[in-house]
């Protein structure tokens, strides 16, 4: 006969107010197999745990049931307690009489009865438990960072400085991301390139960092500590070892049709190009969709002019397959497509631009060399209207837009307004706003400077429509404070468009089985206490891929993600979960259904000699890789011959629980 101990927790008044804990403890004492049953105010406290340890030793218990909160809360605590008293930790069962009982019932007799039923079910299960021992798996001491913007660069630098190897995979030909496109940064107005490019150089020169640019992640398999990633390194058609980045080819290229991505398509570039002057790696790349050689087989001017002989038209994509212990997602963002908001005439006039386009128009390396001109005719603008919250803060049932606040727009609009007034005091600047949101160190002071020092005309209200009237843009909006409808004739309109996760985030999330919210932002393991970890073990989050944030917040989060990666990589091995699937080879009929449903690829089939009372011989049976299995149980419910079972949650144990409840 087994010796089971039952421990009923009050959880202060959380449980005891709705469940008669003494009655539950008394009733359990008469259950078959139970040799000890008691109650205590806080079972998770040190005294409570000592009570459990003493009972295990005194009564030589070989299984315990703790009637308390959800196993998510304290199962690990009580398993450790049991282990300290010499009991296998998997001989512990939790009856959840708080979240699933006391918190949802008001009536004491009803709650007490249900608590007794739940306790009986746990007793029935623990009687069928078997001691389990967790296996271990080694940790590959290398991290993969997906995305080479400021978030990815900072995470990589921090991990590499701790002595671990890091690969950054970046889909575009250079690292730098969105921050490289910015002109100045708020609230200090220092130049973005001046603070970013040294970090890009550092990442490039760091002996532990390996940049894999112009490359995309194709597939990820494995699990925490043991991921395998397949990366497609797209052909640049330029030999990376020979190209010196001199840029002669980019000047000689006769094709001028490719839109310059770095300048948000405001001007064009050659078919062979270097994204921008400080690009890293500083290598040319051929855009085959615009290259005359790739379209007609002729031309080849770049090849003739390259003194290094670096042009390789026949270069092919390369597949890199490598193992990683941890993966950091830093996929960043893009502004939403402003053409959805055509009441602002974005598609009708070149002089209506998004804020990111405006950054390029203000930047010395931009299409107008830093001289602010109207994109339509190159003339100096005299009146500019900024419109905030374009596509942000829309309701879920509105026809377009995002529900969230994009967080950075108030500050960058204040920055733009201020920079324009600083450089061109003759330009009138209006800003239509709903609320100015400036929580952040020195942020509100910055916005007030725009109003008080630079005379920016802040108007509380929204613009209803923008119409093109001759060379002017007729801006019709409301001024709520004066209860007026305003008609402003501007030369340029700048839309503070909402930001959204990069379109590649969704497929990467699927590859990593990392959960995302309805807006395609990655979900954190806990919104407050685990903000840089994905619920999927070994996957970490850095930057805007998790939610809108500015540069300082991104850098802080990147460092936090790095510290989590370092914590993981510093371990030599990880203790696994022993609650994994295993196949009863005598029952297995070799149908392969479990192999097909397994989301982790943990099941393979082998030809094996099997000896049983009714069968002897070689047959095809399922085999579970215990290191890969996550214990989800999909195979056990799929198996038509009940050969698949989950340790710790076997069919027998679950049926025993159901029987106890129905008794």
């Amino acid at each position: 006969m087994q010796k089971i101990g039952v421990f009923v927790c009050w959880c202060g008044s959380n449980i005891a107010a709705t469940v008669d804990v003494k009655a539950v403890a008394n009733a359990m004492r008469s259950e078959p197999g139970v040799v000890f049953s008691t109650d205590y105010q806080y079972m998770c406290s040190e005294n409570g745990q000592n009570l459990i340890k003493d009972a295990i030793r005194d009564y030589k218990l070989d299984g315990i049931v703790v009637c308390s909160c959800s196993p998510r809360m304290h199962e690990a605590t009580f398993r450790k307690t049991a282990m300290a008293a010499g009991l296998n930790p998997y001989m512990v069962e939790i009856a959840n009489i708080r979240e699933q009982c006391s918190w949802i019932h008001k009536d004491m007799p009803e709650g007490t009865e249900k608590a007794m039923v739940l306790a009986r079910a746990a007793i029935a299960k623990v009687k069928k438990n078997a001691p389990l021992t967790a296996g271990t798996s080694p940790v590959t001491k290398r991290a993969l960072v997906i995305g080479g913007g400021i978030a990815g660069i900072q995470t990589a630098l921090d991990v590499a400085d701790a002595g671990y190897e890091v690969d950054i995979v970046e889909k575009s030909p250079t690292i730098g991301g969105r921050m490289a496109q910015l002109d100045k940064t708020f609230p200090t107005l220092d130049c973005a390139a001046c603070i970013l490019t040294p970090k890009m150089v550092e990442a490039n020169q760091h002996e532990k960092i390996n940049l894999i640019t112009y490359s995309e992640l194709e597939n990820v398999s494995g699990f925490v500590g043991n991921f395998t990633a397949r990366i497609r390194k797209k052909a640049r058609h330029v030999d990376e070892k020979k190209c010196t980045g001199c840029g002669v080819c980019t000047e000689k290229c006769p094709s001028r049709k490719g839109l310059n991505e770095f300048n948000m398509g405001l001007n064009t570039r050659g078919a062979i190009y270097i994204p921008f002057a400080q690009a890293i790696p500083n290598l040319a790349v051929i855009d085959t969709s615009n290259c005359i050689h790739f379209k007609t087989g002729k031309c080849g001017i770049c090849e003739k002019n390259c003194s290094a002989g670096a042009i390789k038209f026949d270069q092919e994509d390369e597949i890199i397959e490598r193992k990683y212990g941890a993966i950091v997602v830093a996929t960043g963002f893009k502004p939403i497509d402003a053409s959805y908001f055509d009441e602002y005439a974005y598609t009708q006039s070149k002089d209506v631009v998004t804020s990111l386009e405006f950054e390029r128009l203000m930047n010395a390396a931009g299409p107008s060399k830093g001289v602010l001109v109207r994109p339509s005719d190159g003339e100096h603008p005299h009146d500019i209207t900024f419109i905030q919250c374009v596509g942000s803060r829309c309701s879920h049932d509105a026809t377009k837009g995002k529900e969230y606040c994009s967080k950075i727009c108030c500050m960058y609009t204040a920055k733009h307004a201020m920079l324009v007034r600083e450089k061109y005091p003759d330009v009138n600047v209006h800003v239509f706003y709903i609320d100015v949101r400036t929580p952040g160190k020195n942020f509100d002071e910055f916005y007030r400077r725009a109003v008080e020092q630079y005379d920016v005309d802040y108007i509380k209200g929204m613009v209803g429509k923008v119409t093109v009237e001759g060379k002017k843009l007729h801006v019709q909006g409301s001024s709520l404070l004066s209860n007026d409808q305003l008609h402003i004739y501007s030369d340029m309109v700048v839309l503070a468009t909402a930001i959204e996760p990069d379109p590649t985030a969704r497929s990467i999330g699927t590859m990593l089985t990392a959960s995302m919210d309805t807006n395609d932002f990655f979900t954190e393991a806990h919104p407050k206490l685990r903000p840089v970890e994905s619920p999927t073990a070994g996957i970490f989050l850095s930057g805007v891929c998790q939610g809108p944030k500015d540069i300082p917040e991104t850098v802080a989060q990147a460092g936090a993600a790095a510290s989590k990666v370092i914590g993981l990589l510093s371990k030599n091995e990880l203790v696994g979960n022993p609650c994994v699937a295993h196949a009863n080879e005598l029952l297995c009929n070799g149908c392969s259904q479990c192999e097909r449903v397994c989301p982790y690829g943990a099941i393979t089939y082998v030809e094996k000699e099997v000896r049983g009372p009714e069968f002897r011989g070689v047959k095809r049976v399922a085999q579970v890789n215990e290191a890969v299995c996550q214990g989800c149980g999909a195979c056990t419910v799929t198996c038509p011959s009940t050969a698949m079972d989950l340790k710790g949650f076997s069919n027998n144990q679950i049926i025993a629980e159901v029987d106890a409840i129905c008794r």
Binding site: R393, C394, A398, I434, K460, G461, V463, G464, K465
Partner: protein, 128 residues
């Protein structure tokens, strides 16, 4: 004068939830009849929410609305101010007692050349 029309009445007739409004003013920014109106679209939302229905019912603004639905189309919160204005107008009509005609008069009036819209608007014309 009190019309005994409550916020709840207007919300029920219109199907609008005024709490969704964030008072950005885009409706009034877009309204082509703005200059004609004493109370503007965003004020309708505010005044209905806070029970100032009588003022709205007495105002000429309810007849100045062109029902062009620009405010409804562009509202980022899908509040639909035009439906609120229509509901206030409806409330006024319902207070005015009987209609010009009853549904039973319609079959006799039907004529190929007469637009049905004309009959519908005739229904709405009140005695007083």
């Amino acid at each position: 004068m009190s019309n005994n029309i409550t916020t709840e009445d207007i919300l029920r007739i219109s199907g609008v939830d005024t709490r969704k409004c964030m008072f950005c003013g885009k409706c009034s920014g877009t309204c082509p009849a703005f200059d004609e109106m004493e109370y503007h679209p965003h004020q309708f939302v505010y005044m209905v929410q806070w029970g100032m229905i009588d003022k709205l019912m007495e105002s000429k603004s309810i007849y100045k609305c062109l029902t062009c639905f620009a405010c409804l189309e562009r509202c980022p919160r899908n509040v639909q101010p035009a439906k609120l204005i229509e509901a206030v107008r409806q409330a006024v009509i319902r207070q005015q007692g009987m209609n010009h005609m009853t549904e039973n008069d319609i079959p006799g009036l039907l004529e190929d050349k007469l637009p049905q819209q004309a009959i519908v608007s005739a229904m709405r014309k009140y005695k007083k």
